[in-house]
Chain length 475, copies 2
């Protein structure tokens, strides 16, 4: 005979409290969530919670939901657990912004239409070649342990050859392997910048959605952009040794803007004049659609001004967690020391698989396929946009990358748009995440969702915009 449901709930909660997973002071899941998980009515959940409250284990608190107030052991021995809440609030690394946390969570929800997700669709994942590459690595495997501080040498050698095709001369000694471009930024923040330094950057920018520099006490200072990229003339005189310029010149996240050749030269010239180092985040470079973008700023940098960042996340798979930083050797040495202090290097398996992709030439072939697919997807979405959002939004035509920067025309609240869309099963990234404060923007991605979802999502979006526009017109 099965125990009644409310007993099961009680036991479940007692176990969570008992083994310390839900320590004193922590909030338990809402009644609604518990009801869903146990597939019962809310009244059954309430019965269970009342019994637990009568036992003195939990307590409803105004505005805080139901929290754990003691456990069988504290009841017995009057001991209590550490005030973890204090610790959780203490660290210097700020928590992600609420919306970003929510998006991180919602992005792994397969039931939502992902209209913004910055990742290649599963159907561009090169499954059979990936299996082959792994098989090769397995076949040739030798015992592996901690890697060299700068990373697996054959991978750095392969990257050195690959970078040459982009016009960048970099010996393996001036390349550091990292676990993705985000870690590259984290290491730069920990290793090269003092608290109080200034990070100049395009505005809007992906960097605004993170805390990587702000948590270490740096100030972000946004620069205006036009359709050729950021406008370097707007930087005044720069504090020597205490500033850096971050830019994302190819198919920028979130606007899709491609920096022109001329603008690249201007940016480098300013950097040389002001002795302002540049972080060139170039992880979307290979995803061009119409024609190859101008060479990296790093390729015309003769004085070691540029730290160049790349990654396999956007072209192959973010699950590899493999990226790289290229720069002057003393800087790379400093960053590799910090990398060693942080996690002793990146996965040996991922590094070997990445090296295999490069050395066999499969990476280049795969890129060609991705570009074809992205072209189809972009053109398809542009058609759908023309069909459903004409008059409701305006947009650019990106020359590569994942994103269309959609400007919603009717004046309406982006908060409501985000919430209403989510309620209808559509996840949006609104421009404010990237510090786009004037006007209403959405980062639309044509890279991830299926064509069916893209079509349906954009159509529903048009309806939501119309509804909200009418409502706000009425007020």
């Amino acid at each position: 005979m099965k125990r009644p449901k409310y007993k099961q709930i009680i036991e479940y909660i007692k176990e969570k409290i008992g083994n310390g997973e839900w320590p004193i002071g922590s909030k338990i899941p809402s009644q609604r969530t518990l009801a869903r998980e146990f597939n019962v009515n809310r009244s059954t959940v309430i019965t269970a919670l009342e019994e637990l409250a009568a036992d003195g284990l939990i307590e409803g608190r105004m505005g805080k939901g139901t929290v754990v107030v003691s456990n069988t052991w504290t009841l017995l021995a009057n001991r209590s657990s550490p005030d973890w809440g204090k610790y959780v609030d203490a660290g210097f690394q700020q928590p992600s912004r609420k919306t970003v946390q929510e998006i991180n969570q919602s992005e792994s929800n397969p039931d939502l239409i992902q209209l913004s997700k910055g990742e290649l669709s599963k159907d561009m994942f090169p499954l059979s070649v990936m299996k082959e590459m792994m098989g090769k690595v397995a076949h040739n495997l030798e015992a592996f342990g901690y890697e060299e501080p700068k990373g697996y040498l054959p991978l750095r050698e392969a990257l050195s050859r690959y970078l040459r095709t982009l016009g960048i001369q970099a010996s393996p000694a001036s390349i550091l392997i990292v676990s993705g471009a985000l870690q590259a930024l984290q290491l730069i923040s920990m290793g090269l910048l003092q608290s109080g330094s200034t990070v100049f950057l395009d505005r809007p920018s992906y960097l605004y959605s993170l805390h990587v520099f702000q948590s270490a006490g740096m100030k972000l200072s946004g620069l205006p952009m036009d359709e050729a990229g950021l406008l370097p003339q707007t930087i005044g005189t720069v504090p020597r040794g205490r500033a850096i310029l971050y830019t994302n010149p190819c198919f920028q996240n979130p606007t899709g803007v491609l920096m022109s050749q001329k603008r690249r030269e201007e940016v480098l010239r300013l950097s040389e004049k002001e002795q302002l180092p540049i972080i060139e985040d170039d992880i979307y470079r290979e995803l061009w659609i119409d024609q190859a973008p101008p060479p990296p700023i790093k390729s015309i940098d003769q004085n070691g001004h540029v730290l160049y960042i790349g990654s396999f996340s956007k072209t192959l798979s973010p699950g590899l967690r493999i990226g790289w930083i290229v720069g002057p050797e003393p800087v790379i040495e400093r960053l590799s020391d910090i990398k060693m202090q942080t996690d002793y290097g990146s996965s040996s398996l991922s590094q070997r698989v990445a090296a295999e992709w490069l050395t066999t030439g499969h990476y280049q072939k795969h890129l060609e396929n991705v570009r074809d697919q992205l072209k189809k997807r972009r053109d398809f979405v542009l058609e759908v946009l023309a069909e459903h959002l004409k008059g409701l939004a305006s947009w650019n035509v990106p020359k590569g990358g994942f994103f269309i920067w959609l400007n919603i025309l009717p004046p309406l609240s982006m908060k409501s748009l985000y919430a209403k869309a989510l309620a209808e099963g559509i996840l949006l990234n609104s421009g404010s995440i990237y510090a786009q404060e004037n006007g209403n923007f959405i980062r639309l991605s044509y890279a991830f969702a299926s064509s069916g979802d893209l079509k349906k999502g954009i159509y529903q979006l048009s309806l939501i915009i119309k509804t909200l526009a009418t409502e706000s017109g009425k007020k």
Copy 2:
């Protein structure tokens, strides 16, 4: 016809300077190093350097060696590169200690006898099963991308079952996958502790060799140990919410000490009384030799006082870069948010391979083999020690792990011992790295070197000790 050697050196250096790998202000390799690399006399190197100096590219500076002072472009255009030296010195993360950096480098030198290295010997690497596991993962592979914030669910599920065998009840939701135990410490430092907090720890301790807490402004406060582990009575009253206790209760690094059952209970009791959270770094647990160690402190923790850390680095391979943190859910959530901000999660490949090891049962079988091997190695080294170091050193008999904590008896300088051993091709970790300030200690590892090397290394060590003891006796 080949260009003369000194021309080759000039071109090599010009290229390094020209492409910005050696920016202005950076030190070029020493004459000795260049002579070795190009296989020439020092006089040839000097000829090359003189020509470069005459060109105005480099300059000898008092006490700084030879530095780059300009490059062809700066000569042309009077532009200069950013003062990277300022940046390299600026970040809040302190550089590793010089000795530790030197050891990190020297540990990948295959010509040295590694008497201290904390890693399993290559001949315990389970190569054929590792290939099989990778093959299985490749075979069953599906498209993978960014993982869930807490890590690949099947791995967390497998860990949850595995942890139960150690007496720890932890649902997958209270487990965070990290890229090794070091990253676990880094995340705790970034996420849970305020600058000015105190980290209590056994002394000596592995933690002293790192800067993970110190760089974030925390103070390490060492506690005395006896043969049953750290002595918790020595902690006075603890600042609430601003302190944590770090301990490594199984086969401690560097002393090899195993904390007794009774001591574990005392530590937990203190922690409960003082509301002092515990970090239990248990990465050597499975490497027991004579009998299984007492259950983890976490297994008797009913109130969520303990953050429990494990890793595959010491048992399987550090190259996987897979570890885990177990703790109360709100704490795990906070740490997983920081993990997302740091590197968006650990390698999908490593996580899948690790899950395969656990679910197939191969991990447990492999551990049995490792224990057998470690027993043989330990017993062998104890014999060699008895043969060569009797009267020159004293030591404990470790019950597991990798290390013998060797106390050198004659009064001599550990700096000289380290240097002389290195000159003879033997790499030692001296006790001072771990903040053992009284007496002369070496961390001896029986896990890594071949039996031939262990024998030879210990014999040579005995000769060096004798020589130094005589010398210091003479003074």
